[in-house]
Amino acid sequence: MRATTRPFERRLLHDANPGTSRMTTLLVQVLVLVLLAVLVGIWALRFPYPAFWLRGFLPARKRWPEREIRDWLGNGRFHRGFLKFFNRDPERNPPSDPGLLAPADGLVTSAEVRDGIRYLVIALSFWDMHVQRSPAEGKVVAIQLSGDGFMDGEGRDFAFLRVKQCPVQTRVVLDTKDYGRLAVRLITSIAARRIEVWPCEGDMLARGQRLGRILLGSTVVLEMPEDFPLRVEIGQRVCAGETLVAAGASA
């Protein structure tokens, strides 16, 4: 049986449907515009730093720009994602080739020689992995702490070599069977001043084993005999526990 509608009901239906449709269209338009306004507003407030929805698409250096990290160093409020990224500790596979491994991720900035010792300076950026590794198998014979005073900027250059007051640092001395006496200096910045060294004096370290961590630090220096031929150049990026930085004297 076919349903019949009264005239006023037909009029109501005729009027109601377009009205509902218009209202839905307006609602959707307003929602879209409000969403876009919020996105643009957040973008404008965050500028020149990336908005949160953008971070996932950007490489680390652009995701957390240096200026923004320095602001965080000032106010102590770090982005949670950055801290997670900064505290990463990936596994590393030391190569089977003989030689000294890089103790840290970063950029080789100098390899000066003083009094028969070569100081291989590796500068770490905010985006480098900050866990250090042993350059060779050996025994920890000393862990020396020094430099509580003011330091030289961010410690990118080895203050020790520039006859300036040493930055906050920890020197881990290793006695190795193949390479003799080595030392790894972990140097931190004025902003952080925190260094963790995990082994104790007398502990044996495997080649490439985790040695410690600089919290928002900047420099790691590998001390080795000057006659060890270098396998890296100034300006080269090295990888802790994986890049061969020098061959032994016999190589």
Partner: protein
């Protein structure tokens, strides 16, 4: 009120389109600026051109 701004009980489609397109242009420019090494002037010129073409298309669709 002109149908460009308001028509049939909702925001006029040309105006709506221009607003959405402009916002997306702005956000997309930011992504490109951060992810590429394009010079600021070159990027600005490209975006301005793309934006004008988009607006022109919206206007042509409406008035044409």
């Amino acid at each position: 009120m002109t149908p460009f701004v308001w028509s049939a009980g909702h925001i006029g489609w040309p105006l709506f389109g221009i607003l959405v397109f402009s916002a997306l242009c702005l956000l997309a420019t930011d992504i490109v600026w951060r992810t590429t090494r394009t010079s600021f002037r070159k990027l600005g010129a490209c975006v301005a051109l793309a934006w004008m073409i988009g607006i022109a298309m919206a206007l042509i669709a409406y008035f044409g």
